[in-house]
């Protein structure tokens, strides 16, 4: 049946159509919906899980592939760093069932720390990479990836980018049938990675590179379209931008679309280069195609020549502008000229109204006023605690880093109190090792777990602490407090972050202790529980001091000029009745009702 599918949904449906049996992953924008869609649409006999991190997910998928099942692991590009260890190694060992590693890159970056390029990573790891220009191509590519993986007993990476992951196209989706039963694991020396085996397999991997480059040049996966003398080499969403940019002028161009970046299809590239006079390269992230063409001795107009922006996303208008400038051609897309608009407010993402993280950050700030602290942030909604007026994120690096960086800072300057803020899902993903590291090495930190009972930033996925699995089972939740105590953290306080009278003294007590001490701020994400009520401003009592806005920065509160002066106003659609504003209001005139 024809359906409007998002790129990530297309990957899931393509994998199910290919008979995938085991799917694991860890949430991360822009990859998350792929695994969620598998969970929603899977036929009987398909197992799916949110693993605790990408490394675990990759290992689960590798195990399944060793047993002969088709398996897939999903992640964003940052997650590939976490999963590098098993994925790098499994390429040397090989697989029995097809194993696809689905990685979503994030040009911009829009919601990531880096602009790393999985095409380059795949080349480094010597694992084939298939790229996608559109959701419908992603649907095809994932099936091709399984075929290729199984045919060559090697893992295959399917890579896409945000504008493909989160774009929708019309796709004909087949009925999914349960996967075929598989043979199971058969014992063999080949499954044990030893230096001698790696030496032998490295030779095979090396030989495979040129063999696959030839196959990819001849099997139609990479396309050369047009007969014009201006050559454009592109890949991913840049192929769509190119199509828009040259629309109506196609006869001037020959477009080489690279859908198998690694191994690079050299013979096809040679054919393309031979039929054009000029070569431009349009691609986001690394100058990957550009560098491969340059290595063939081609002069390329691209990022290295300074013609194409080296960072951030491209667009059809940017591509058209570069083509015009470099070739003298006149195309149809141009930037719009508008008179200057009135001042528009910047509108970055913020912590939601009622978000318990606001209470946690504010409570620590209030408790530690006048003392030297470092607030180490981490990856999740709570990174948004960096914004004014909370301004409570001094560092943010990668998943789990705050916990261990706090220790490094402490070893250099023991005079500050270092608070490491980490969410519940991030704690399970990569905070536990850091906590144990601190206990063992006698570090002096306050570990703050922001437990909102979900993986909020990526759209509310369950995790080990929630007691719900992606197979729909109810299981015993893993207790963060027990994990901490088991790891040797003796000082653990569980506190409601939206009750300042309780939270502030607890923080002060913890700050005065030594070693690794933990505060678990437990309060659910507002998106997964009903509203507690709505705060109402007593307009007669409000003195318009703006203390609520200046201290909390809650998006539900604005100030309005009335005939009785400036007054705070609550947006009832946004307010969840967390009660934080009334606790700090000097007149306590913002009581929660209903």
């Amino acid at each position: 049946m024809k359906e409007l599918l998002m790129g990530n949904e297309a990957v899931a449906c393509g994998a199910l159509a290919a008979g995938v049996q085991v799917v694991a992953g860890y949430p991360g924008t822009p990859s998350t919906e792929a695994l969620e869609t598998v969970a929603k649409r899977k036929p009987d006999g398909v197992y799916v899980e949110w693993s605790i991190n990408e490394k675990a997910g990759a290992e689960v998928a590798a195990g399944a592939a060793y047993a002969g099942a088709r398996s897939m692991v999903t992640m964003k590009q940052m997650g590939l760093n976490v999963a590098s260890d098993p994925i790098m190694c499994v390429n040397y060992v090989g697989v029995k069932g097809g194993m696809v590693i689905y990685v979503a890159d994030d040009p911009g970056p829009i919601s990531s720390q880096t602009e790393q390029d999985t095409r380059s990573w795949g080349q480094f790891a010597k694992i084939p990479v298939l790229d996608c220009t559109s959701p419908e191509q992603a649907f095809e590519q994932v099936q091709a990836a399984f075929e290729l993986s199984e045919a060559k007993s090697m893992p295959v990476i399917l890579r896409s980018t945000t504008r493909v992951c989160h774009a929708c196209s019309v796709i004909d989706v087949p009925e999914f049938v349960p996967p075929e039963p598989v043979e199971g694991f058969v014992k063999d020396k080949k499954w044990v990675i030893f230096p001698g085996l790696s030496y032998q397999n490295k030779k095979k991997i090396f030989a495979r590179e040129s063999e696959l480059a030839k196959t990819f040049s001849e099997n139609g996966m990479n396309t050369i379209a047009g007969t014009g003398k201006i050559g454009i080499a592109c890949g991913g969403i840049a192929a769509a931008y190119t199509a828009d940019a040259i629309q109506g002028h196609e006869d001037q161009f020959t477009v080489f679309t690279v859908n198998t970046p690694y191994p690079f299809p050299i013979q096809a590239a040679r054919q393309f280069v031979d039929q054009v006079d000029t070569v431009l390269a349009f691609e986001e992230l690394d100058p990957y195609i550009e560098d491969h063409l340059a290595a063939m001795g081609v002069d390329v107009i691209g990022k290295r020549s300074g013609a194409v922006p080296e960072a951030g996303e491209l667009s059809a208008v940017v591509v058209a502008g570069i083509i015009e400038k470099q070739t003298g051609l006149s195309l149809d897309l141009h930037p719009t000229n508008l008179p200057e608009s009135p001042a528009l407010p910047v509108r970055p993402p913020v912590l939601c109204a009622g978000c318990p993280h606001r209470g946690a950050f504010y409570a620590v700030k209030k408790a530690m006023r006048g003392r030297k602290i470092i607030a180490l942030g981490d990856i999740g909604c709570y990174t948004l605690g960096n914004a004014m007026p909370l301004d409570m994120v001094d560092t943010c690096l990668c998943m789990g880093a705050g916990v261990t960086m706090a220790q490094g800072l402490n070893h250099v300057d023991p005079s500050t109190v270092n608070f490491a803020f980490i969410g519940d899902s991030t704690f399970f993903a990569s905070g536990i090792t850091g906590a144990i590291n601190g206990v063992y090495n006698q570090a002096d930190i306050v570990l703050v777990i922001l437990d909102n009972s979900t993986t909020a930033m990526t759209g509310h996925q369950p995790h080990p602490g929630t007691g719900v699995t992606m197979m729909g089972e109810r299981v015993e939740p893993v207790s963060i407090e027990s994990v901490l105590r088991g790891a040797g953290v003796t000082s653990v306080r569980t506190v409601d972050p939206l009750d300042l009278d309780e939270a502030v003294p607890a923080i002060q007590a913890a700050a005065d202790e030594k070693g690794v001490r933990a505060i678990i701020f437990k309060s659910p994400c507002i998106a997964i529980v009903p509203k507690q009520g709505i705060a109402e401003v007593d307009q007669d009592a409000c003195i318009g001091c703006k203390h609520c806005i200046n201290e909390l920065g809650c998006p539900a509160i604005t100030m309005m000029e009335t005939e009785n002066g400036l007054k705070a106003v609550i947006d009832p659609a946004l307010c969840t009745g967390c009660g934080l504003c009334n606790q700090i209001c000097p007149k306590h005139c913002m009581e929660v009702k209903g």
Partner: protein, 198 residues
């Protein structure tokens, strides 16, 4: 190719609106593509949804993202966001903009104000066709402020800017919303259409 750009503030439901429009195109046998802001920007940040559809079943839709100056219609769920994205609109394109300004925390904290009315005047001065509508009141009349997205979709349907019939958009809406909310959303579509009827 017909293109609609929908923009607003995370949480206002631009994604559902763009999916309804794309679904209506698909139901009539045409190609449809959308591109949406999903993730970090949902938390009260600026969001944009692109919808591009073929005018005939044969027409190919090249890319999901609307190049600047190529949108036939711009639906602004919020005045400032409409102004921010006006560059996407064709010179003879249509703007449908919801009147209520949403003041972000950054503006509440700062001394400089954000004046929605001034922004609306600028939009009216710089768009060939601009409908300023009170979508929130219409949504409240339907029983929930959450149907603002469908109210504005109704307005779009009435303009005919995407070459889709009102009935086609209604059927697509019925496919896309939970059965319990179909009646409320039918009302929202009708009220939205009424707001731009001349």
């Amino acid at each position: 190719m017909k293109s609609a750009l929908l923009c607003g503030v995370g949480g206002q439901g631009t994604v559902l609106a763009s999916r309804i429009i794309a679904q209506a195109a698909m139901n009539s046998g045409r190609q449809a593509r959308t591109a949406e802001t999903i993730g970090m920007a949902q938390r009260g940040g600026a969001v944009v949804s692109h919808v591009r559809i073929g005018e005939t079943p044969e027409e190919r839709v090249t890319s999901p993202l609307i190049p600047d100056g190529q949108a036939d219609v711009l639906i602004g769920f919020e005045p400032g966001e409409a102004a921010r994205n006006l560059k996407a609109l064709k010179p003879d394109g249509i703007v449908i903009v919801n009147r209520r300004a949403i003041v972000p925390v950054t503006a509440s904290l700062g001394k400089s104000g954000y004046d929605g009315e001034t922004v609306l005047k600028w939009l009216e001065a710089n768009a060939a066709h601009c409908f300023v509508v009170d979508g929130d009141r219409a949504a409240q009349a339907c029983g929930s402020e959450k149907v603002l997205n469908v109210v504005l979709t109704g307005a779009l349907a009435e303009t005919g800017a995407m070459g889709l019939s009102f009935e086609g958009i209604k059927q697509a809406m019925i496919r896309r919303v939970k059965p319990a909310f179909v009646e409320m959303n039918k009302k929202a579509l009708a009220l939205g259409a009424k707001m731009v009827r001349r």
